[in-house]
């Protein structure tokens, strides 16, 4: 097990380097740091002096990939690529381009509100989706199932933006049950979190319940279910004792892979409800064209994704004894 994990972590290294090179090419090679500086300082009437200052303050005044002036190793280390990339690997994200804040500290502070919305959404969504899917499978080949399937397709075809706008309008403006947007620390956060979580769950029912339904239906066709029925178990008993347990394997592993990414939060939700999480942090960075933050978030996202894949493989061995890691 330990060997396997270590090997996987080593495999992750070239992937992360690849991600780094990709974002580096996107941000710095296609557009030079001069372009970025001009973009940040305003398009016109920028003196060369101001551009140089901006670059120097943020460490973009080095050559991009190769420093001819340096000696030995310095030809590689004294470059923008090396300076801006190596720190990421031990989560030293540096400072942001626009207001020179410490990105690492911001991330640490902002990841909790993200989690406060994302985690309940995931857990509740999972419960609701599985329940709906089980109902549809239990009453399969009936009008109940048919209407359930139709409803799922309809729910699926509505853009998530409309769920948010509609929810805010209904619960925030008409019924005045919860505040429309905002956030507060501690337990006061609950009243701000309820609506985003509810909307997150409802907007996910369509695709979620449909997906779980196909999983259950695949399982229902199998031989052990027929055996269970032949033993004389009722349909409900078969479904809850046998089918659910076995269908849990793909469901669980599908959930585990997104667990680490919950920290990243949801871009849309957080910006609509002005929750100070990592999602809105990213959106702000995108709209203020802060490359340092976007690059850090891309890197963080990739790390969490790779970590999620590792967790998935480990969870496979835990829930399914037939799977061995090699």
């Amino acid at each position: 097990m330990i060997h396997y994990i270590i090997r996987r972590l080593i495999y992750a290294l070239p992937l992360l380097i690849g991600v780094n090179i990709l974002t580096f090419v996107l941000f710095f090679v296609v557009n030079s740091p001069d372009d970025m500086a001009r973009m940040q300082l305003g398009q016109k009437h920028v003196t060369a002096q101001a551009v140089d200052n901006w670059k120097k303050q943020r460490g973009y005044d080095l050559p991009l990939l190769w420093n001819d002036a340096g000696q030995g190793l310095e030809t590689v280390t004294q470059t923008v690529f090396y300076q801006k990339s190596v720190g990421l690997f031990w989560f030293d994200f540096g400072i942001s381009d626009s207001d020179k804040r410490n990105i690492g500290a911001d991330i640490k502070q902002r990841m909790w509100p993200s989690l406060a919305v994302a985690l309940p959404s995931l857990v509740l969504g999972l419960l609701v989706n599985i329940t709906v899917a089980l109902m549809m499978v239990l009453f399969r080949n009936s009008y109940l199932e048919f209407s359930g399937v139709v409803l799922c397709v309809i729910l699926m075809s509505i853009s998530s933006l409309f769920y948010i706008i509609g929810g805010q309008f209904l619960f925030g403006k008409l019924l005045r049950l919860v505040p429309i947007s905002g956030y507060d620390g501690g337990f006061n956060a609950i009243k701000f979190v309820v609506l985003p979580v509810l909307i997150g769950v409802v907007s996910g029912i369509g695709s979620g319940a449909r997906w779980y339904r196909t999983l259950f239906l695949e399982e229902v066709e199998k031989d052990y279910v027929r055996t269970a029925r032949a033993k004389g178990l009722s349909e409900t008993q078969t479904l809850f004792r046998h089918v659910v347990k076995n269908a849990m394997i793909p469901i669980l592993t599908g959930v585990v892979v997104v667990l680490p990414l919950l920290f990243m939060g949801s871009l849309i939700m957080e910006s609509f409800f002005s929750i100070p999480g990592l999602g809105s942090y990213t959106i702000d960075a995108i709209s203020s064209q802060d490359f340092a933050i976007v690059r850090s978030m891309v890197f963080l996202g990739s790390v969490l994704y790779i970590f999620g894949l590792l967790l998935t493989d480990i969870s496979y061995t835990l829930v399914d004894p037939r799977v061995r890691l090699s």
């Binding site: 070239p14 974002t23 996107l26 557009n31 933006l161 403006k173 995108i286 976007v294």
Partner: protein
């Protein structure tokens, strides 16, 4: 004078390759059964009809030309040309659907030089009515009925001709129940289109937006954007996914490793962030090279194209992985082994034995992806990393109108229009995708 924008050219290319692909499919015996199955499905064919209506509108909007007028040298499309009455009749600001008055109160000149605080009449909406309060409902009803009648007449003529053609053939598709349903839907759709044309000539049937532009026109114009994103992305993604997926599965060794490395790397970057990063890059590039993008519409078009490219680059990995797995399975099959033993060239094996047998995966994933791409456009436009703000798109409509829900009373029509159009398109696409998947997936076919 005709102008071909980049996306136009690619749409034409897509149309040609799509027709070519359709001919190729029709000629293959293995594809007959699923195609017939789709043809028998009522939901599938009805949703396809709705999709085709959207496609027709999108195509009309993809033929651009320069106006001949001396002063304005703008590029407009065939759709714009036909919709000129709606396009040019803009009001001052918001007005509700079918309203004869502006949404906000203003100071108006009244009799005897006095000024009154009230709702002014619209310049164009319901302007032909002398007393809108009493006449409006009747006039709308008459116009609706006229439109419906026109639509019926217009659609019955070609249908009658069609009927003469198939009268003798007992097994004609049009005589089956699916065919009849589709005919009914076509008649309804044509009638609705005619009614909309009739009404929109005199009213703002979905209201006007902040700068007084007709919302119905905006929603119709957005169709092209939605379709372009849903289809051109596929055009970018397919070659990458097919070539890489099949090669990785068929040839073991370093090629497989390299391709796997590429797609795992791309996959591990959160999709939205990669799109954001790329769009940021494009923005900076455009800002620094203003000479290359002279006209507004060319600039917006380039950005749309870039968006499709980027979405394509971020979304090919899923299909690629599926194709690789399937090819891995197929290459061990007896018929592939036999072909190899007989000395068939590798390129030929790939083309003759592997490609046709993964075709169903490709078709299914293309139709499944379409609706999610249309939905993604709206979300991306909301974060400002989608299409250009000047491009008509449902995302931009939602983005511009979402804050107006907080008004009292709420300005709901822009959102409603975007919702209506998007929902129709996505629902039709989803239903069609389900039918196609049921027909083409061999695992589902066994249960028949």
């Amino acid at each position: 004078m005709m102008v071909v924008l980049w996306t136009d050219a690619l749409i034409y290319l897509l149309l040609i390759s799509g027709s070519g692909f359709w001919l190729y499919m029709r000629g293959r015996a293995t594809m007959q059964r699923p195609i017939r199955k789709v043809g028998r499905s009522k939901t599938g064919m009805v949703s396809l009809t709705v999709l085709l209506l959207f496609v027709c509108i999108g195509l009309l909007d993809s033929i651009h030309f320069r106006t001949d007028e001396e002063r304005s040298n703008e590029i407009i499309s065939l759709l714009d040309y036909w919709a000129s009455p709606i396009r040019q009749k803009s009001e001052k600001t918001y007005s509700a659907p079918f309203s004869a008055y502006l949404f906000g109160k203003e100071l108006m000149a009244a009799d005897e030089g006095k000024q009154v605080w009230g709702y002014p009449r619209l310049k164009h909406g319901a302007a032909h009515l002398a007393d809108p309060d009493s006449e409006l409902a009747d006039d709308v009803l008459i116009k609706t009925l006229t439109g419906l009648a026109e639509g019926l007449v217009f659609s019955l003529l070609p249908l009658g001709l069609l009927w003469l053609l198939v009268r003798k053939r007992e097994d004609a598709w049009l005589k089956q129940s699916t065919g009849k349903t589709v005919i009914a839907v076509v008649v309804v759709l044509i009638s609705v289109v005619f009614t909309a044309i009739e009404l929109s000539a005199h009213y703002h049937i979905l209201g006007t937006d902040k700068v007084g532009e007709d919302v119905f026109y905006q929603a119709v114009k957005s169709i092209r954007t939605g379709l372009v994103i849903g289809t051109l992305t596929t055009l970018v993604m397919l070659p990458l996914a097919i070539v890489f997926g099949i090669l990785a599965g068929f040839f073991h060794g370093w090629l497989d490793d390299v391709i796997q490395y590429i797609y795992t790397t791309l996959n591990s970057v959160p999709g939205v962030l990669l799109i954001a990063a790329s769009i940021l890059m494009v923005q900076v590039y455009m800002a620094n090279h203003p000479d290359d993008f002279t006209s507004l519409i060319v600039r917006a078009d380039m950005r749309l194209l870039f968006l499709c490219l980027i979405l394509g680059v971020t979304s090919w990995t899923g299909l690629c992985r599926m194709l690789r797995a399937e090819t891995l399975k197929l290459r061990e099959m007896e018929y592939v082994q036999a072909a190899r033993a007989l000395g068939v060239k590798q390129g030929m094996i790939l083309y003759k034995h592997i490609l046709p047998n993964v075709m169903h995966i490709i078709i299914i994933s293309v139709v499944l992806d379409f609706s999610s791409l249309v939905l993604a456009e709206a979300v991306l436009s909301y974060i400002n990393i989608g299409v250009d703000p000047t491009t008509y798109s449902w995302g931009n409509m939602i983005n511009g109108a979402r804050l107006e829900m907080a008004r009292e009373p709420a300005v709901w029509w822009s959102l409603a229009a975007a919702f209506l159009f998007m929902f129709t398109l996505v629902l039709a696409a989803n239903l069609f995708a389900d039918t196609v998947r049921d027909a083409f997936d061999p695992r589902r076919a066994e249960h028949e």
